[in-house]
Structure formats: C-alpha cells, structure tokens
Symmetry: C2
Subunit: 96 residues, 2 copies
C-alpha cells in the first residue's frame, strides 16, 4: 500500500517538475524580451529596486511550508539565472 | 511605446512569479508527504539515484534558453529546500 502511495506521489512530483521547467523557460523568455526593450530605451539591465519589490511580493504571498528566507533564496537564484541570459544575449549582439 | 511594452512584460513576469511560488509550494507539500510515507516504510529520506533521474529527465526536456547546467543548478536548489523541509518535519515528530 505504502509503495503504491510513494509511486503515485512521485508521479505527481514528476509532473510538477515539468510544469516548473516550462514556467521557468517562459519566464526566461520574458526576461530576455525585457532586456531587449531596456537596451532600446537605454535603461540599466539590473534593477535592484524592482528585484526586491518582486521578492517582497512573493514573501507576502508565501503561506509556507517554505520559510520566507527559502523563498527569497530560491527566487534570487531564478532571477540571477535569467539576468545572466540577458548578458549572454547582449554579448551576442555585440559580436554581430 | 517601449515603456508600455516594459510594463506589460513586467506584469506577465509578476504572474509567472506567483505561479512558480504556487507550484513550488505544491511540490514542497508532496515532498513532505513522501517523507512521511518513507518514514512509515523505513526507507532513507534522501535518494541520490532518484534525484539524478529527475534532473536528467528535466535536462532531456530542456529546450533552452537556460543551459542544462543552469537547469541542474536551479532544480538542485529546489530539491534541497524541499528535502530540508522533510528534516524539519521529522525533527518535529521526534519532539512530540
């Protein structure tokens, strides 16, 4: 019985992993587009105020089980990875 | 026009952030349930083979723009945070 339960929970987890991957991919594409718009209007790529606003909004919405600090940590990693993509994208443009 | 574009992209980003938070929360709850089932059947909490299988499945599905290494890094952080929750949960049980 418990082995069956484990199998079913794991299959739910696999589905969520894929959904997370899809959302992170979608997010990365939007951040890349934002980078292009910012380059066009000449705004700085990294906006620490906007980043901390996004983090605070997420912490406000967090009902657990993750602690607020864990939410901050996980999203900072996602934000950083997306920002690094903008960097790569701009370097490509410079090389053209 | 570009300022409008930026506003619209940012609002899409905010929606995705919230969806990510919801999915991560759902994921954390399932991992906590898995921890309980594992405690019941006396299996070890951390299963490195299962973790590396999940990572490889995600890398197989990754079509960019994130590199495979970035996907591995981001998911390892999410996996670790979820596993830490199981730890806290088991400590609580020990204290009861």
């Amino acid at each position: 019985m418990s082995a069956e339960e484990l199998k079913s929970l794991r299959s739910k987890l696999d589905e969520i992993n894929v959904e997370l991957l899809e959302l992170m991919t979608k997010r990365a594409e939007i951040v890349t587009d934002i980078g292009k718009v910012k380059a066009k209007i000449g705004t700085k790529r990294f906006d620490p105020v906007r980043e901390s606003q996004m983090l605070e909004e997420l912490v406000q919405l967090n009902k657990g089980p993750f602690s607020d600090d864990t939410i901050r940590h996980l999203f900072k990693q996602i934000f950083k990875a997306s920002l690094d993509l903008q960097k790569i994208d701009q370097q490509k443009e410079l090389l053209v």
